[in-house]
Amino acid sequence: MNGKKGAAARGKAGAAQLAREAQRRPMFRRRKVCKFCADKIDDINYKDVKLLMPFVPERAKVLPRRISGTCARHQRKLRTAIMRARQLALIPYTTE
């Protein structure tokens, strides 16, 4: 937070310096783990709205893998489940 404020005060050059700093010492980010692998959820079921809802953010799109950290295999299953749930109006296609 503090570094950001300093960069704003220093203007353009400061921002560049900050970027260089970030490259040298990358921001700490927790490693993402696939929720379904971690919780050992084998079947991602379209009837299980409670399970699917966290992967359908506000605009009702499917949450991308790079954000949720879901593994490829489970993302595929998740997608099918969400699409099926949408057909039955359990999950919205979109929000207006």
């Binding site: 079921n45 379209y46 009837k47 099926r84 057909q87 039955l88 109006a89 919205p92």
Partner: protein, 151 residues
């Protein structure tokens, strides 16, 4: 060749309980006529739809698990399209998926048991063991959903 299918259909909210039951009996008769087997019926009751279908905002959901062949499901699908009271339906084949789930599950418990025995522990997890916050019981409450969770 018998396969396992899941059928979910949404009946219009204007329909009376008798009409909902009538749809069910129609399906039942088709299943019986074509040598199928009705494994399970579940009425989820009235729920809010995630979006409007026609002019409806609510619907009565019914789930049926049916053993039978493709022709049977084709006939049911055709029939459901005809019935006006049914505003939406979905047929999904589940037997293969369930077999895969079953297989991974047994494989996982087997490996865990083998490893636990190798470590000199009892094969099954004891109560109170494991990470904090991990529930001991595997009660399946996933389908207990209230209508308010749907936006």
């Amino acid at each position: 060749m018998s396969r396992k299918y899941e059928l979910v259909y949404v009946v219009s909210p204007d329909a009376t309980d008798e009409q909902v039951a009538d749809v069910h009996t129609q399906i039942e008769s088709i299943v019986q006529r074509m040598n199928g087997q009705l494994e399970k019926t579940e009425n989820w009751g009235r729920r809010k739809l995630a979006y409007e279908i026609g002019r409806h905002k609510e619907g009565t959901y019914v789930l049926e698990v049916i053993n039978g062949d493709g022709d049977l499901m084709k006939e049911i699908d055709r029939r459901l399209k005809v019935i006006d009271q049914v505003i939406r339906h979905l047929v999904v084949r589940v037997d293969e998926e369930q077999a895969v789930v079953e297989r991974t599950r047994t494989r996982r418990t087997e490996t865990s048991r083998r490893r636990r025995i190798a470590r000199g522990l009892p094969p099954d997890r004891q109560p109170g063991e494991g990470q904090r916050g991990e529930p001991d019981d595997d009660r399946d409450d996933r389908f207990d959903i209230g209508g308010e969770e749907l936006r």
